[in-house]
Symmetry: C2
Subunit: 171 residues, 2 copies
DNA sequence: ATTTTATGTCAGTGTTGTTGACTTTCCAAG
DNA sequence: CTTGGAAAGTCAACAACACTGACATAAAAT
């Protein structure tokens, strides 16, 4: 069923014979899996007045407490106007605190409040539960492969961000 | 660096010790990778008057030529009004043909025209190129794991659709 | 003193999703 | 044959979330 073939090549490198069909299935897998990936947080946010954009902001503020608006912008890849709309509501609702920088007073450092952290936990618990179940079902070797392919799929700039986040608490 | 640990458990099953941090990194990998995944088609569509929704419709019509609107709806998971707006422009622009069903004349069977297939090729070529590069970089075992985790992450209904598409040309 | 950077804000626009209401077509059961 | 309901299409209104462009403020850098 899984006919991704590998053969030893002269250089000791494994060569992949990837048919268009196999690649197409990878593409569809990404599409369907991403729907599942966002389904649980979406359900939680649907009641509250927030959407996916709020979730992303909350996630990365939680991940890098005290991050600046500019840093968040380059991670999320949206315009400042778009991010600002989201941040404004989160600050107004008391989920995020915006602190003027000490060294550079132009910068705003973003941190989650208690309430913000509670929502972050609720959202990430749901997402982690699905991820954990998928990892268990697929097995440990699969997890390594999953991460390797995803990382290889990222744009270089995003990959840099991804690995910087990793270093913060993992490396 | 990749510290997803696996240990042989009594039942012969491998046990995974997944920390919240490891799961979180999987979540972030999905987020960043999906951005890369959609980046190339987005760039192509940006010039033309189409968006991601058009791409998705074109992809699945190409994948299952003659599919009905209802089938497409359950694959894409949007409302008929939303899909209809997209299909209407694609039909008006001569990329998609809508054929009245022969057995059931209420149904519309959707197929790509020559022009539609040309755009589909352009889009999927771009997406496959990235996927192929990622597969090559990650290696053949990683590809297996990638697909296994993604499939485990899908909602059951979407997983059914995914596997039905597979059977069509792979099983 | 001037320029650049970081941030915030206002106004307008586009894509993509939603609900709700309504019509047309047409299969199938009574 | 009539009627109920499913499939498809349409119209209107609306919301989330992205975009561009223009402009304001404060502070750092030159």
């Amino acid at each position: 069923m899984n006919d991704t073939r590998a053969t030893a090549a002269p250089g000791g490198q494994a060569l992949l014979f990837l048919t268009d069909e196999q690649l197409r299935k990878g593409i569809e897998a990404m599409f369907f899996a991403y729907r599942g990936f966002t389904a649980d947080p979406d359900r939680i946010l649907e009641d509250k007045a927030y959407g996916r954009a709020h979730h992303r902001a909350i996630h990365f503020i939680s991940r890098s407490p005290g991050t600046t608006v500019n840093n968040l912008l380059s991670i999320l890849g949206v315009t400042k106007q778009s991010l600002n709309r989201v941040l404004r509501t989160l600050i107004e609702d008391g989920l995020v605190e915006s602190r003027v920088g000490t060294r550079d007073k132009r910068e705003r450092h973003l941190v989650l409040t208690e309430v913000g952290e509670a929502l972050e936990r609720e959202l990430s618990d749901a997402q982690r539960t699905r991820m954990r179940a998928a990892y268990r079902e697929a097995g440990p070797e699969a997890v390594q492969g999953f991460r390797a392919v995803l990382e290889a799929m990222m744009d270089p700039e995003l990959r840099r961000h991804f690995n910087q986040l990793k270093e913060a608490q993992d490396g």
